[in-house]
Symmetry: C2
Subunit: 304 residues, 2 copies
Amino acid sequence: MSEHSPLAVVGTVAIDAIETPYGKKDQVFGGSAAYFSYVASFFTRVALVAVVGQDFPLEYRRILEERPIDLSHLHTLEGKTFAWKGKYTGDMNMAQTLATDLNTLLDFNPELHFEKHPEFLFLANIDPNLQLKVLDQVHRENLKYVACDTMNFWIQTRLEDLHKVFKRVDCLILNDGEARMLTEESNLIKAARAIAKMGPKHVLIKKGEHGALFLYGHEIFSLPAYPIDKVSDPTGAGDTFAGGFMGYLALTGDTSFTNMKKAVAMGTIVASFTVQDFGLDAVRKITRADLDERLKHFQQICSF
Amino acid sequence: MSEHSPLAVVGTVAIDAIETPYGKKDQVFGGSAAYFSYVASFFTRVALVAVVGQDFPLEYRRILEERPIDLSHLHTLEGKTFAWKGKYTGDMNMAQTLATDLNTLLDFNPELHFEKHPEFLFLANIDPNLQLKVLDQVHRENLKYVACDTMNFWIQTRLEDLHKVFKRVDCLILNDGEARMLTEESNLIKAARAIAKMGPKHVLIKKGEHGALFLYGHEIFSLPAYPIDKVSDPTGAGDTFAGGFMGYLALTGDTSFTNMKKAVAMGTIVASFTVQDFGLDAVRKITRADLDERLKHFQQICSF
């Protein structure tokens, strides 16, 4: 019998190849659920629901095993691990995808077998049909908070399914470009309000180097990014932002506006560490105390 | 003998024609010094140093006369008033200039005759040579604080003169695109630090809907924009931002980091009103109390 995880994430585990103005790296351990779970585990025990291929390196599994992450839902399937190759240029706000090999991701059929279901759930960026499959397996009334992510590809090709997902989650976390695409609204406040009408009562828009905007019913919270003068690799920034946000929420169990503002700020801080090095390299070097210290500095930077 | 003005602005007074997704307006009263002085006058008496042509409408002069603005340096020259025609599309962060008629601006030769010189000076966006001419006429040691603005055109064509200006001001206020162009640095923190090495000890980068970044020696202050769900016309946002910032500084006379953070926030608030209607229409409807009230709300929106 495994220890209870208050938080679960369903998403991808991947092997990435990344090129930025600061370097080029193959064989980088990545994937939305890997990034999310690694940093959420600074706050709470987290269950990782994902698949990998037979080529998945043991050393990557060890990285996750170091942390309070429940790996009993990380299944190894026949074939190769999902692989993504991307490049960042210019202001590094947007990756250019060079190659995507779905591999075992094509056979991903998430099945949740928990003795006690997690109270907090994050549906990372995957096929909206899989997100719906997960939602079918959880009792909504036992869940305190469900958030989901998505991407431009699903907005363009699978909008109908996405709308079904939106109706069943508390919060949609997406970036500014996706919010504009989804709503055809250039003003982000209006875009956030339009999204709230699609279902999620909370909307969290990530703006990369420009910070984040959080719509909580009629309330709005806006904050800049933590200033980082050398962004080495933005990969995983959004997933670790979500991981810090949801991890902090699961730890505190408090979804009041006041506490959620702190959760958004914590997500910002976690993401600010992520981008300082390739893959998980930067966050692997820190502790919860480093997050708290930078959060305190962030509070000084923003207050007037 | 006119009353003392603690603050002076040298810049343009213009007649604009503006097109945005929300409408089209000819004969809009504008110009950097007009916008700046109008809103700075919410905080302190301000001297406006500029030229207009013989066609300058009396009703526009009346708008300035309503406020504690010293117009004794607003000279009427032979010819027509400087006219600008611009258009905003998409996310409205950047104007597309359709026409510029310099007219009397070509004969602008600022001469400062003050019984007692202002302690705070803003060199709005004009030919860097004129900015230097103004600096030659003031005794730097009698000035508490000098800030200047500029634009991409001067960066591209008159960089040498601009560098002379930068060495003689306390603060450069510019937008993100200009900061990147000036430094060839995409990261804004690095760009701000690079600008500080050119002379100004303070650098204030305006990011439109994304807020502002303020470098104060080794300190950094970052804040989002006040959320506005309908930006009718961004013209004058930058000039009124500067007007709120410098007006608040001149009122308080305090250039400590703590007070300057508040001045930046006040600039943000003033700009947030400006964009809600065409030209000066929105700020003409408000009082200092409205600014203070929105500033208080802004503090709630940003705090965590």
